[in-house]
Amino acid sequence: MLKRGSKARFILITLLLLSPGLLTFFLLFFYPMMVTLTRSLRPEGEQIGWTLEHYVTFLAEPRAREVILLTFVLSIGAVLCSVLLSIPLGLALRQKLRAHRFYRLTMITPRVVPGLIGALGLLLLFGSRGWVNLFLIRFVPFVNEPISINYTIPGLILFYTWLYFPFIALTTLAALEGLDPAIEEAADVAGANRWQVLRHVVIPLITPAILAGSVLTFMAAFGAFSIPLIAGGNHRPLSVEIYRQIDFTPARWSAASARAMIMAVLQVIFLTIYMRVLRRPIT
């Protein structure tokens, strides 16, 4: 029942509808990527010639492996901590306990505070004279002097967790609230205690959602910048490493670009894994 010429019109309309998206993609993604790629292959400060030296020198440094490893440790650590925290929190919140709306709101505040301010606040809170240490010294036996948290890797993971927890928590909570309560009731009538219901029914059922949320959060954490810049001290993940190249005078744009490309490749690999995770049948 297609009218003559309607197919051509259909294609035209489709193109028109797609054009803002295509344009944005080109301007905001494809173009900068190409510029960065080209830059990373030019000798430093030159507009002509091709070289792989920026990749080679960076990857040959023993520091390179450390930087990449640290980037992984921080982002995976943050995701794992967030997941582990979000499950008990989600289980508690879905009971609609008193003031659960307030807790929900509190949960997402780290996303409202600008990263920079958050990082400074955390440094103050966890510093040797911050409230956390004062509390530990005052109330926890055998803690007599401040514990150093700031500028350590565990401390950095803690800060990352603070920043990325809301994403994971929201996913976990949504997954938990999406479960049919009858399924859990079926399990406990069948003889499973609370722990067994959690282990055999609840966790397996929310895992696909948590995995999907985790990979996205991992990718965001992989590129985290303000927290490690301010609160990282000597621990510099890739993002800070890239920034440092630009901070030289004259700025080392090619070296920075090469590192950025390495980071991009690693992220694409993770995106691929993410797609795989999503394609698994989620029941």
């Binding site: 009858a182 399924i183 079926a186 406990d188 009538v189 069948a190 003889g191 499973a192 067994q196 059922l205």
Partner: protein, 358 residues
């Protein structure tokens, strides 16, 4: 002392101001199938959840097999339950679902397999052991639900509207399948439904519920033929209710007459009847006989005019005006037909005439 498998003793359960179960007492005998029947929202599920332990009664005690389980957690109560939404574990296969209760009980692998396959054979689903719930139909899912509930041979089987999510034809088939299974296993069962046909067809006894309490407990034919309250009569099939006054009791004929809107209707007599008492007379529309106007008069035969006729396929539904203020609803099988405006006679057979003394 009678041997009850389940006993609710003065159980009250409130949700805020709403009393979902108001001082309910219910005794279920060993090996019987008891149905909780009532309209949606009358607290059937709440009562069932007091048995499973998902609801803790605010007052009263719950006994299973003679033991006070009011404070025993659900997982220790050794029950089997079938849900309206099937509630299969979506991440486990049919086999895994049925195996779950045995796995939790740490039965060894080989024995488990045997028990699961026995249960699957019982519901004719053994070929589907590797399927996931989403790959099988609703009816099949509910059969797996049954197998999962029965596989570990629980003391009691609880079913909460197990057929409500299935289409009409399947519902009727599975009714018999469930009854059959329960008979074969000799298990005690509590069946919750709002469908009176289902309740009458399946049950050994029926508890008819109304807004938080039980109106009447009895065998299906008792509930149907001798409802004790207006609610029960109304809920179990259509009934015509007419307010009247007892005008006479005829001891030797074991009948009484009720004056209803100028008509004298004869009804079976019961001990509590005394002339002058207000009563509620009722009769089911399909128990009334519709006769041609030429028919002789007699006891409980009245003249009327067909006001309206509705054709229902296997039956016809008539509204017959019997007197100025009285219109009766009559349902007949399709054989004898009357037209609107036709003069007819209606016969109310005495055995079908019921009276509730108020």
């Amino acid at each position: 002392m009678p041997d009850y498998m389940i006993e609710l003793r003065d159980v009250t359960k409130r949700y805020g101001d709403l009393v979902a179960n108001d001082n309910v007492t219910l005794q279920i005998r060993r090996g019987e199938l008891m149905t909780l029947l009532g309209p949606s929202g009358c607290g059937k599920t709440t009562a069932l959840r007091c048995i499973t332990g998902h609801n803790i009664p605010d007052e009263g005690r719950v006994f299973i097999d003679g033991e006070d389980v009011t404070d025993v957690p659900t997982y220790k109560r050794e029950l089997g339950m079938v849900f309206q939404s099937f509630a299969l574990f979506p991440h486990m296969t049919v086999f895994g679902n049925v195996e779950f209760p045995l796995m939790i009980r740490r039965m060894n692998k080989a024995e488990r397999r045997e028990w699961v396959m026995d249960a699957l054979r019982m519901i004719r689903m053994e070929e589907y052991e590797d399927h996931y719930p989403r790959q099988i139909s609703g009816g099949q899912q509910q059969r797996v639900g049954l197998a999962r509930a029965l596989v570990y041979r629980p003391k009691v089987l609880l079913l909460d509207e197990p057929l409500s999510n299935l289409d009409a034809k399947l519902r009727e088939e599975m009714r018999f399948e469930i009854r059959d299974l329960i008979d074969r296993l000799g298990i005690t069962a509590v069946y919750v439904t709002h469908d009176q046909a289902e309740a009458l067809a399946l049950s050994d006894r029926v508890a008819v519920r109304n807004a938080g309490h039980i109106e009447q407990v009895g065998m299906p034919d008792e509930i149907y033929d001798l409802p004790q309250t207006r609610f029960v009569a109304d809920f179990i099939g259509l009934s015509e209710f007419l307010a009247g006054t007892l005008s006479a009791v005829h001891t030797e004929e074991r009948t009484a007459t009720v004056a209803v809107d100028g008509l004298e209707i004869h009804v079976p007599a019961t001990p509590e009847m005394a002339p002058g008492r207000k009563v509620l007379f009722f009769i089911r529309p399909n128990d009334i006989e519709l006769l041609p106007a030429s028919q002789e008069s007699g006891i409980n035969v009245f003249v009327g005019v067909v006001e309206k006729k509705t054709y229902l396929g296997d039956r016809s539904d008539y509204r017959v005006r019997v007197s100025e203020g009285l219109e009766l609803r009559v349902q007949t099988d399709g054989k004898v037909r009357f037209e609107e405006g036709e003069n007819v006679k209606v016969h109310l057979p005495i055995p079908h005439c019921r009276v509730i003394v108020e």
